[in-house]
């Protein structure tokens, strides 16, 4: 192809609106491209300067040799990387639980509601305990006040009372079981 033909074909290509638009875009991006190139150049200059600085290179070598980066450590790092999704999920779950608990602790209304609920569930037990305690105290008081002396006649009279019968049944059962276990 002659030089003129080549020039014609290039000029024709330049007349293509798409090519024109691309060139215009590239021209507009030139300041940014120039900035990027400058940064690359600066980076290369910095790397070159570091490599020429013997003291810096020596220090880096010493530091790298102190790390235990052997094949075993690298394999472990790969295994850990594989586990990262599971670890992330577990950590997120733990973080959620922690946030939930912290949020309850900060929320006066929820704390009050939980306090009331637990009081409601515990109250019957406390009440029952109090009743037992007052029964014991009453028994103790009466026993201390009682100065009578009891005879066999009293025991015969008590034997008809239901609690005494229950106690006797338990005593009888205990004796039977202990006899058999001998």
């Amino acid at each position: 192809m002659a030089v003129n033909e080549k020039t014609d074909s290039r000029l024709k290509a330049l007349e293509d609106p798409e090519v024109m638009a691309s060139l215009e875009y590239i021209l507009r991006q030139m300041p940014d491209i120039e900035k990027s190139l400058r940064k690359v150049q600066e980076g290369a200059a910095f790397a070159g300067a570091v490599l020429q600085d013997e003291a810096a290179v020596q220090s880096m070598e010493e530091r790298a040799s102190s790390y235990r980066v052997d094949p075993e450590a690298l394999a472990a790092a790969v295994r850990l990387t594989n586990k990262l999704p599971e670890m992330e999920a577990a950590l997120t779950q733990a973080e959620n639980v922690l946030s939930f608990v912290q949020d309850i602790a900060r929320d006066e209304a929820s704390m009050e509601s939980l306090k009331k609920s637990s009081e409601r569930y515990v109250e019957p037990w406390i009440q029952q305990g109090k009743e037992h305690l007052s029964t014991i105290e009453e028994i103790k008081r009466r026993a201390e006040e009682d100065k009578k002396s009891y005879s066999l006649f009293h025991l015969l009279k008590w034997r008809r009372r239901k609690p005494v019968q229950t106690i006797l049944r338990y005593m009888n059962a205990s004796l039977d079981v202990l006899e058999q276990k001998k």
Partner: protein, 397 residues
């Protein structure tokens, strides 16, 4: 007025707030770029209203200010959404202003249509007509139950989708239990007029509940839809959905579950399906036609029971998939239709129904959940509210 936000959420209910919290927890860069619009002054934990109606909780415990539940990093605009223009990524508000968005989450809830039953609106809160579906009237339910002296106690379930499909029967079981305690049960007829064909959709729980209905001697009339109320005569008329005949009952107490439907501003928008519900993919929750829109909660056309528990499972899916779309990926998180209904069957008794799209039980406890249990009742009454306010709304549960 015009404003722009990266993520716009219509609705500050359980769906909107938990989705916002999850987005902020997953991507801290979204702080200051999420806007929630909701006209309400208060945010209500509605599952508690059954227990309020049964005298087991105070209604004030179910309510907090909207301001207190909006997550840090999200902005709240106290205004209603009036219309959608999804082709221009815009939502118009009640005051005429427009908000444009990059991504939209629709979590607008369900609309209660009190006026659809003649006589309901004018008698609600008086003449023996109550409903646990209204914050204002939940304590009137308890007033009627505790002062009931005998007669007909009528409970209804409408022929529309409702939020918490178990609630209409939960209050009936509590009332029946209370009538036993107050020694009026032997002079009381408990009547359940339900438009549904049976007591529950999931066979395992249906079997258990049928036995409870039988044990409690409840007169159940299925395929019967409440069509009108006469407050002065104290009568409630039901249409038999199969024969079209009308049956009228005298009532001394009437608990109404009102008809519900999609919010009008969704039904009238390009976002709705042919029935007016938000048209979303059943598994990804992405809108069927607009890829930058997601939906969750009661306003969607998801074929599952509309419950808070369902929203708890939908929120992570919607948030995760929105973030994936934001990062130019395909939505991969999947919602399986999980829903749950803690069916209170009396004081200190509860059946915890959990199931999926296929109506298969999806139980999370290591025991048979179709058995009435006190532990599950304690969980509903004392633990679930705390889990809601401090876990679900914060995006951690």
């Amino acid at each position: 007025m015009e404003a722009h936000t990266k993520v716009l959420i219509t609705g500050g209910g359980s769906g909107g707030v938990s989705a916002a919290s999850r987005l902020l927890r997953k991507d801290a860069r979204l702080a200051g770029q999420i806007t929630i619009i909701d006209p309400a002054e208060y945010h209500d934990y509605q599952p508690l209203w059954t227990l309020v109606g049964g005298g087991e909780a105070r209604k004030e415990e179910s309510r907090r200010t909207m301001k207190s539940v909006i997550p840090e990093g999200a902005e709240w605009i106290q205004e209603r959404a009036a219309s959608f223009d999804p082709d221009n990524n815009s939502v118009y508000l009640g005051d005429g202003s427009r908000i444009t968005y990059d991504y939209l989450i629709v979590a607008a809830g369900i609309q209660i249509n009190w006026s659809d039953i003649p006589g309901l609106k004018e008698n609600l809160g008086k003449n023996g007509v109550c409903s646990n579906y209204s914050y204002e009237h939940t304590d009137y339910t308890w007033e009627l139950i505790r002062s009931f002296k005998g007669g007909n106690a009528v409970f209804t379930h409408p022929a529309t989708p409702v939020k918490c499909g178990g609630a209409p029967q939960k209050i009936m079981y509590l009332a029946e239990d209370y009538f036993q305690k107050s020694h009026v049960r032997n002079k009381t007829e408990v009547i359940f007029g339900s438009a549904n064909p049976g007591i529950f959709d999931v066979q395992k729980y249906k079997d258990a509940l049928e036995k409870i209905v039988e044990r409690k001697k409840i007169k159940a009339h299925f395929r019967h839809n409440l069509v009108s109320i006469d407050g002065e005569k104290k009568t409630a008329s039901f249409e038999n959905l199969d024969t079209k005949e009308t049956k009228t009952f005298h009532y001394d107490m009437l608990h109404v579950t009102p008809p519900m439907g999609p919010p009008a501003f969704i039904a009238q928008s390009p976002l709705s399906d042919e029935n007016g519900w938000l048209d979303v993919h059943p598994h990804t929750l992405q809108h069927a036609r607009y890829t930058n829109i997601f939906g969750l909660g009661d306003c969607c056309n998801l074929p599952t029971s509309k419950t808070g528990a369902a929203i708890r499972k939908q929120a992570p899916t919607a948030a995760e998939n929105l973030l994936q779309v934001m990062n130019k990926k395909q939505p991969e998180a999947v919602y399986d239709g999980y829903s749950s209904c803690p069916l209170v069957t009396g004081y200190n008794k509860l059946i915890l129904a959990e199931f999926d799209y296929n109506k298969n039980p999806q139980e999370s406890m290591p025991f048979n959940q179709a058995v009435e249990r006190r532990s599950m009742y304690m969980m509903k009454k004392d633990l679930l509210p705390v889990m809601y306010w401090n876990g679900m709304l914060k995006g951690t549960m």
